[in-house]
Amino acid sequence: MVRVSEGNGAGAGNGSHPDEEGLRDDNMRGSAPAHGRDVVARSSAEVVGTSLIERTGVEEALEPEQELMTINLGPHHPATHGVLRLLVSLQGETVIDLKPIMGYVHTGIEKSCEDQSYWKAIPFVERMDYLSYFFNMQAFCGCVETLLELEIPPRAKYLRVIHMELNRLHSHLVWLGTSALDLGAMSMFFYCFRDRDRILDMFEMSTGQRMHTRYFQVGGVFEDIPVGFEKKLRAFTAEFPSRVDQFEALLTNNEIFLQRTKGIGIVPRERLKALGVTGPLLRAAGEPWDLRKVDPYLAYADFDFDIPIGTVGDGWDRFRCRIQEMRESVRIIDQALAGLPEGPVIADDRKIVLPPRHELGTSMEALIHHFKLVTEGFRVPPGEAYYPIESPRGELGCFVLADGSAKPARVHFRDPSFVNLQCLRDMCLGGYIADMIQNLAMLDPVLGGIDR
C-alpha cells in the first residue's frame, strides 16, 4: 500500500524511531523517502512517521501546486456511522487536517433527566449510546445504587451480566457489519445482522422489547427470565463461536481487508492515554486495561475470561480485539448461565423498589409504597457519585448529583465515544481519505453517545 510521505522525510521513516518498529514490513514498504513536489518521486512510498509534524509537514510553506481542498463529510454520509460531520482538509488525497463537528443528534438527555424521577430517567439514559443500552442502564442504576448504598441480590447481578454481555455481542456485531460495509464487504452486513436478530430475540424473550428494554431497575432487574430462556440462550452460545469463525474466515486473511487495515491509524499508546481513550482502541495498542478485570463490578470477578490485547494498534488489531472480545463474551455468558444463583431478582427495600404485584391486593403498606414510588419516586440522600463501567466502546461513566429529592439534580455521562473521537485526528493525519473512513469505522463511534 503506498502512502505519500510529507516533508523531506528526515525524521520520518528512517527506521530509527522506536515506535516505528511495528510499522515496518519489508515486503510492503517502499524505498528511500521522497521529497515533496515531484509526483514520480512521491509515488515511491515510505512509512509515515509517528509525530504529527513529521507526518504532515505543515510547518513548511505550501507551494502553489500544493493546494488544500477542504471538504465536508456529513452529517449525512453513508460512512459516518451516524450524523457526524467532518471537515477535512485534503492535499490530493492526503488528509492534512481534520475537524469533527458534532451535535446533530444532541437530545438534551442529561437535562431532561433532571425533570424525571430516578425510575423514569432510566428510559432516557438508555437512549444515549443506542447500541449499548444495557450498559447505559447499568451505569445509571449502579451510580444511584452507590448513592443509596443499596446491595443488589446475586441473581440480579448475574442476570445483569448476562444481558450486558449479550449487548456487547450485539454492539460488536453491528459494528462489524457496518464497518465491513464501509470497507466494501457487503455480505458481512447481512451475516452480522442475521445473528444480531437472534440476540434481539433473546432480549425480547426476557424483557419484552428488542431495543431500549428498560430492564435494569435501581435494585436489580425488572423481572426474572422466563422458562425456556436459558435453553435458547445456551443454543445460541453453542452456535455463536462457529459464526465468529465464519466472520473471521471472511475477513481475517482477506487480502483486501489486510491491505486496508494493516498499519493504518496507529496512534502511540501514551498518546491514546493522554487523549483519554479507553476500550478496544486502547487494548489494541497494547494496554491491558479493562474495567471488568482491573476493577470488577457486579459479578465479573466470578468469571474466568481473558482480555484480548493487540500489539501495534492499527485497524487490524482493533478488528481482532473486538472479534476476540465476542468470543470472550460468549464464555462469560456460558459461565453466568451455569452459575446463575437462585433468589430474588430485585432488592427488597420497599422504599426504593416496587413491591410485587400480588402483594398489592393484601398489604396496605405495599399499596402505599407502590403509590409513592410511582407518583413521586424514591428519594436519594444528597451526594454525588461517579460510577464507571466497561462498555463496548470504553469507559462509560455516570455521574449523578442527588439533592435529596426524588429527581436527580445532575446526570452526566462520560461517554466513551465522545472522548475517543478526539483521537480520530491523530489517526487520520497523513493518511488517505479512504483510510479515514476505515479509521472512523474501527473507532466505532456511536453518535447517540457522542451527542447525548
Binding site: 458534532m102 451535535g103 444532541h106 438534551g108 442529561e110 437535562k111 431532561s112 433532571e114 425533570d115 452507590t146 448513592l147 448504598e149 498518546r271 492515554k273 493522554a274 487523549l275 483519554g276 481513550v277 479507553t278 486495561w289 482491573v294 476493577d295 451526594g383 454525588e384 457519585a385 461517579y386 464507571p388 469507559e395 461513566g397 455521574f399 448529583l401 439534580a409 445532575r410 452526566h412 462520560r414 465522545f418 472522548v419 473521537l421 478526539q422 451527542d451 447525548r452
Partner: protein, 176 residues
C-alpha cells in the same frame, strides 16, 4: 480510591506544595473528592500527576455541575485515575456566578491533558464557563449561534405542551 486518611494526606501534601489549593475534602460512598480553588487547577492536576506517590495520570472525565441554589454555584469536576493502583480521585473546582453579564472563568488544562479539549468545550457549551487559553473554545453540541447555557439549573427544559383536543375545547389554554 484512596481511603479517608489517604485523602487527608493528599490534602495536606497538596496544601504544602500549593498553598490554599484545597479548600475542602469529602469521602463518601467510597469515593474521594478534593474541593479546590479553580485558579490553581493546573498546578493541582499537575501535582497529582507528577508527584511520585500519586501518579494520577489518566483524566477520565471533565464535566460541569450547577449546584444552584448552593454557593459557589458551579463546580467543574475532574475525574482522575491512577491506572497502576486503580484508584480514582475527584477534583472539584468551585466557581461562583459573577453576575448577569459576565461568565465564570478558569484556566484550561487542555494543553497538559489533551483529553480535556472536547470536554471543556462541552462544559462551556452547557454552563457558560470560559476556559482561558483554550485553543478553540466554541460550542460543541448546540448550534454555534445558540443563545443560552442549557444545562444551568435556571434554564428551562423547553419543549412544547402536548395539546389534548378535548381539554383544549373545554378549557382553552389550560397549559398556561
Amino acid at each position: 480510591m484512596p481511603d479517608a486518611t489517604g485523602l487527608e494526606l493528599i490534602r495536606a501534601e497538596l496544601n504544602d506544595a500549593h498553598p490554599d489549593a484545597v479548600i475542602d475534602t469529602y469521602h463518601r460512598h467510597g469515593q474521594a473528592c478534593l474541593i479546590v480553588d479553580a485558579e490553581q487547577i493546573r498546578e493541582i492536576l499537575g501535582w497529582l500527576r507528577d508527584t511520585p506517590g500519586q501518579e494520577y495520570t489518566f483524566l477520565a472525565s471533565v464535566h460541569g455541575v450547577d449546584y444552584l441554589p448552593a454557593e459557589p454555584r458551579f463546580g467543574v469536576h475532574y475525574e482522575l485515575l491512577n491506572m497502576a493502583r486503580v484508584e480514582r480521585v475527584r477534583v472539584r473546582a468551585e466557581l461562583s456566578d459573577p453576575g448577569e453579564d459576565a461568565l465564570p472563568e478558569m484556566p484550561t488544562v487542555s494543553d497538559e491533558w489533551p483529553t480535556a479539549d472536547h470536554q471543556e468545550r462541552e462544559v462551556y457549551d452547557f454552563f457558560g464557563i470560559v476556559f482561558r487559553d483554550h485553543p478553540d473554545l466554541r460550542r460543541i453540541l448546540m448550534p454555534e449561534d445558540y443563545v443560552g447555557w442549557p444545562q444551568r439549573r435556571d434554564f428551562p427544559i423547553g419543549g412544547e405542551p402536548v395539546i389534548f383536543t378535548n381539554t383544549e375545547r373545554d378549557v382553552p389554554g389550560w397549559y398556561a
